[in-house]
């Protein structure tokens, strides 16, 4: 097996066949991950593709360095998003990149639509489509358990992707659960698989890559590996991720008036200590887990104990993975100030396979709309939807995941997302969204929100505007300079996402270190080449958005009115400030990316 992946597996569900095609040129030019994936997306998804139609495709890709070094553990999924209708780009850890690497598959493209509910199994070169009918409507955890028995594999080389009921019901922000604890979230990858009649994908491989093959300087490789290991384990670079994990953000962001609270109205939550990283580690943490090849162990798994009957011992327990952004949107965002209640909400989204951040945004809108009388009991079917009431929200999540296309009630529209809810019921001013996407848990100031507005997939992960906010507190904002910082950050992240390195390690994998990683494997890449790769990918991502009809000049999309009412770490935001920054961005689109707007 070669260092740089050179095989692409294309599965056509409509014709029920598959082929391995040569991807060497694509991987050599674009490294892997989003670089390779965006090219395949443009090849396989026509401009007129319906995101939930058979002419959409979903592409999974790893990178040239996957599995070779620590924390290079992610896989990207690319598709036309049924939620934003443009670029669907999502990342998951778990074991998928390892399984694809050892099956010698650099990218997996799934096109067409299966006639009946199906499972795809890929074991090295063997590809099978199996019936999945009996797995319909099962929870994501149950599907995982059954597939582990159905398709045995050697330890450590199998990855199981599956959707829940939300994906089957085409909830537009349903996700794909990867290996029980990780997800392709946010942009509706679950609905794309559901629309293709795919309940699950199992990947397993056991091929080897010799380290004494021509080109590899094995001594240098081991030395570079050791250096990265030491940085991961013996320095402070990754420490915050393995101690409290991402929920360490709660207390400092609350202190800075930057914690989204009550549907983004406020920046502080009076019960923040009850849902903080400190509280969870001390009270609920059951274990920590890693993605493959990553020694950090950032995945924090809590134990949720619940009483199901009247007897003292009528207790059952569930393991619930937790991360900051889902906790913020389902916690402070909904005024849920109890750790057990928060775990119940996380678990509810988990078992139905719904994106927790977007679900939190939809629930926040519904609770405020109910409070203000925009929706009433006649809309909700008699169910109250109240801030702070866990049982109300558990029931709403259940009803969204079971929504009925014949009876288009509130829950059906809620499964379509914020834009459609607003169109149906009104209340646009209370639905904070950027191209339909709920911002993640950072009410830090203008750059977090602008970052969501301009990001390729409208995610906090595109450019980390929150970080710029935190660095800008108390300083005069240099609008042009700061917009260029966001733009360049997104470009470098494209490079990291083509490699495909977990973004938690973005401060560890400097451009110089990435060059060294390649060099040890006998591949020459310069820093300039890597920077330019990020720029080239950004051009392709933006062109793809444009092709799918995204309107970069539509300020209504970019500036929701809640933005000017919410409290942030920089106080309330002014319209003129946001407008000024977005105008600068539009000139960057033309001058830097030569985009024909």
């Amino acid at each position: 097996m070669k260092i740089i992946p050179d095989r692409i597996l294309v599965i056509n569900l409509t014709t029920n066949d598959h082929q391995f095609i040569d991807g060497a040129d694509l991987f050599n030019e674009w490294v892997g991950g989003v670089g390779v994936g965006i090219n395949l997306l443009n090849k396989y998804v026509p401009t007129e593709a319906d995101p939930l139609g058979s002419n959409n495709a979903i592409i999974f890709a790893i990178g040239s360095l996957s599995t070779f070094y620590p924390i290079i553990s992610k896989t990207v999924a690319l598709f036309r998003s049924p939620y934003t209708h443009d670029l669907g780009e999502s990342y998951a850890g778990g074991r998928l990149s390892l399984a694809l690497r050892f099956a010698d598959i650099g990218a997996l493209c799934i096109i067409g639509k299966a006639e009946k509910p199906s499972i795809i199994t890929i074991i090295n070169n063997e590809v099978l489509i199996k019936p999945a009918g009996p797995l319909s409507q099962m929870y994501t955890s149950t599907v995982g358990r059954i597939l582990r028995e159905l398709i045995p594999a050697q330890p450590g080389k199998r990855s199981i992707l599956r959707i829940g009921q939300a994906g089957e019901k085409l909830v537009r922000y349903s996700n794909i659960v990867v290996d029980t604890l990780r997800h392709f979230g946010r942009l509706g990858a679950g609905a794309v698989l559901g629309s293709k009649n795919i309940k699950a994908i199992v990947v397993s491989g056991n091929k080897d890559i010799p380290l004494d093959q021509a080109g590899i300087d094995r001594k240098a490789y081991l030395k570079t590996y050791q250096k990265i290991w030491d940085l991961c384990v013996n320095t402070e670079v990754m420490k915050k991720y393995h101690v409290l994990g991402t929920p360490q953000n709660f207390l400092p962001l609350n202190e800075l008036n930057s914690l989204p609270t009550k549907n983004f109205l406020y920046g502080k939550f009076d019960k923040v200590t009850e849902i903080s990283g400190e509280k969870f580690v001390e009270t609920y943490l059951g274990r920590r887990v890693s993605c493959n090849t990553c020694p950090v162990g950032c995945i924090h798994v809590a134990i949720l104990r619940e009483r199901y009957g009247k007897d003292l011992a009528d207790i059952h327990s569930t393991s619930v993975p937790y991360d900051y952004e889902p906790m913020a949107l389902l916690g402070s965002g909904l005024l849920i100030g109890d750790g057990v209640d928060l775990m119940k909400l996380l678990e509810q989204t988990e078992k139905y396979g719904m994106d927790a951040i977007t679900t939190g945004g939809v629930l926040g809108y519904l609770a405020e709309a109910y409070e203000k009388g925009i929706i009433t009991d006649s809309d909700t079917g008699g169910l109250p939807i109240r801030f702070g009431n866990c049982n109300d929200f558990l029931e709403v999540i259940h009803r969204i995941a079971q929504r009925d296309g014949e009876n288009k009630d509130l829950y059906w529209w809620a499964g379509e997302g914020l834009d459609r809810l607003v169109k149906q019921y009104g209340g646009s001013d209370i639905a904070l969204r950027f191209n339909n996407q709920t911002p993640a848990g950072y009410s830090t100031g203008p750059y977090s929100m602008i970052g969501h507005a301009i990001g390729g997939r409208h995610s906090h992960l595109d450019n980390a505007g929150y970080s710029l906010d935190l660095k800008s507190i108390g300083k005069e904002l240099q609008s042009t300079e700061n917009m260029m910082k966001l733009v360049k950050e997104e470009e470098w992240r494209n490079t990291l996402n083509s490699l495909i390195i977990c973004l938690f390690a973005r401060n560890l994998y400097t451009p110089q270190l990435v060059v060294e990683c390649f060099q040890s494997l006998g591949i020459i890449k310069t820093e300039k080449e890597l920077q330019n790769l990020g720029l080239r990918i950004q051009k392709l991502r933006l062109a793809t958005k444009l092709r799918f009809g995204y309107n970069f000049l539509d300020t209504e999309l970019a500036i929701p009115s809640r933005l000017y009412e919410m409290e942030t770490g920089h106080g309330k935001l002014s319209k003129s400030l946001i407008k000024e920054h977005l105008e600068i961005y539009n000139s960057i689109l033309i001058e830097r990316y030569h985009l024909n707007l």
Binding site: S141, G144, R145, P155, T180, P210, N292, T293, V301, S319
Partner: protein, 145 residues
């Protein structure tokens, strides 16, 4: 006194596979899971119930040795427990994998189909150096029964 590997604190395992990859990378000069002498597997799903580490326990009187039909293919380490496989003699095509069948720990010895050799830990300690949570330790053997 030479030491042997012990899975001392299994509950700490985070399932990163660093021990597995280190064993294959350094001892076998290959990026691989199959060629490693140590394996990590999930119990009841990825991380929900935890992990099991499958590796040779370094017996002082290893039952895999006397059952081997090929003279010199596998022998006990002189001191410290465990076994050493002579790869130039071991030939999995010429036997019925008696060592694998006899070991009471499923998977502690396995046959690599590419090189047709028994793969078993040689107590080199590399894996302990790449365990971020201290699951694996080297210790002096003490007799059991």
């Amino acid at each position: 006194m030479p030491k042997r590997l012990r899975v001392a604190f299994l509950d700490r395992c985070v399932g990163c596979y660093q021990c597995v990859l280190a064993c294959a990378r350094i001892n076998e000069k290959v990026l691989s899971i199959d060629r490693a002498s140590i394996r990590v597997k999930t119990i009841g799903g990825y991380g929900r119930e935890g992990f099991a580490v499958v590796v040779c326990r370094g017996c002082l009187d290893p039952p895999c040795v006397p059952v081997c039909p090929i003279e010199g293919a596998i022998r006990p380490r002189t001191v410290g427990g465990g076994v050493l496989v002579n790869r130039s003699i071991c030939d999995a095509i010429k036997c019925s994998h008696e060592c694998v069948e006899t070991c009471p720990i499923p998977g502690a010895i396995h046959i690599d189909e590419d090189i047709q050799n028994a793969i078993v830990c040689r107590q080199c300690s590399i894996c302990t150096k790449f365990c971020p949570t201290g699951v694996l330790i080297m210790e002096e053997p003490t007799p059991g029964f």
